[in-house]
Symmetry: C2
């Protein structure tokens, strides 16, 4: 499903250059439940942003579902993202003026899903992440973990092929985390949805069928613990 | 140091009222290293915001360092906060247009610390949280865990009596978390700085000398595991 060869991502800040990714080769097959782990600043978010078509690599080749995407413009990338990829952002990226329902349904509205069935689906997925009583709340009327779960629901409501989850349980207590992980495991088992996580959470790692280690912008050889 | 009696905090949203805190009684002595834990939405951030003079309770009495603070206005609360309390926000609250150095030194500038000694102190505390090479970076040029550490450094640079830390390690890997916890334990042991955490992180909990449980806006009886 995802094939990265020699991916680099560099940022130029005045006179310094930061190499967030430094020659990454990675393949992710359909149906995987995979964790990328590494120290703070090692390149996890950068990697997920490129796979999720939210950012473009400085160099390297990137194929998603058989298509070479390196030279696509942002509109093409947005089209693919909207149709195939659910993204749970590390910083949630909720829209402050929209309430929980409107934040969750937003990506579906962008791609033109019919509104009537959508509202019922939004209600259902909000219940599954424990937010059934908060549908009318705005983001600043929610706790940190509640906001995180809005971000999770928004990624899942689009019924994506791939979910890229950047530290999706960082603000969640044990019980809520287990609930979320179970939901994701079910989607993986029944719908063959591919999950790629960046996480430090041992509970997520306990369920991963494959763990990939990243340090200083490159995958660490010999630590790829299996093929899903 | 901190005494809360019958604290409630309610939010009115249209026709519903959310009781974020529902009659909290809590005492925190100088020099404690205490964790408040509870499910997402249970009231941890709300509690820390009130103790940190960032918000006011709806009802109840609150004493900080012997002074009754319930009827103080926001300017008085800001004065106390700037002099005595360091706060590590769950959402970091960095100022986007300021770089790492400027974000860390900001609270000291507000209270008029002399600039020359301040810059050296900022550099030192940035090094202690592993950000020595990022002093000129702006928040949007940093990873999630790097931003969290700017928030931590900003709380510690003021040399506060109390540090209120709302999920301070949520975005940090094991190694970085242990480094931060060690730094905090040292300040607690050598400078008698009081630490009150909201956290789900077992590594922080492992070092807590007292754990307080909160659910649905109230402390759960029988679960206060000790007095520091
Ligand atoms: N500004 C607000 N307006 C309305 N309701 C709020 C507001 N802030 C918090 N709440 C509600 O109050 C309750 C407690 O929120 P709080 O942020 O204290 O929880 P928390 O324990 O910190 O949760 P988490 O672990 O998810 O960060 C939640 O149900 C939340 O929705
Ligand atoms: N927009 C940017 N501009 C400049 N540098 C950046 C930018 N985004 C990230 N970086 C740098 O690139 C490196 C990798 O960042 P990235 O966010 O991918 O790390 P991460 O592994 O997700 O870390 P964390 O666990 O802290 O979230 C870091 O050193 C960071 O400072
Ligand atoms: Mg990250
Ligand atoms: Mg909170």
């Amino acid at each position: 499903l995802v094939e990265l060869v020699g991916i680099t991502k560099s940022y130029e800040l005045g006179r310094t250059v930061v190499h967030a990714l430094n020659g990454v080769d990675l393949q992710v097959e359909r149906g995987e439940f995979t964790v990328v782990m590494g120290p703070s600043g090692s390149g996890k978010t950068t990697l997920l942003n490129i796979i999720g078509c939210l950012d473009r690599a400085t160099a390297g080749t990137f194929r998603f579902d058989g298509e070479e995407l390196g030279d696509r413009d942002f509109n093409d990338l947005a089209e693919i993202r909207n149709r195939k990829i659910g993204f749970i952002f590390q910083s949630f990226n909720l829209i402050p003026v929209l309430n929980v329902t409107e934040n969750i349904e937003f990506p579906c509205l962008i791609r033109g899903d019919p509104k009537k069935a959508l509202r019922e689906r939004v209600r259902q997925v909000a219940e599954e992440v424990g937010l059934g009583k908060f549908l009318a709340h705005k983001p600043d009327e929610l706790s940190g973990g509640q906001r995180q779960r809005v971000a999770i629901a928004r990624a899942l409501v689009t019924q994506p092929q791939v979910v890229l989850a950047d530290e999706p349980t960082a603000n969640l207590d044990s019980g809520t985390s287990e609930q979320i992980i179970d939901l994701m495991l079910e989607l993986n088992a029944k719908e063959n949805v591919t999950f790629l996580f960046s996480t430090h959470d041992p509970r997520v790692m306990a369920h991963a069928r494959r763990v990939v280690h990243i340090a200083d912008g490159r995958l660490v050889d010999g630590t790829d613990s299996g093929r899903a």
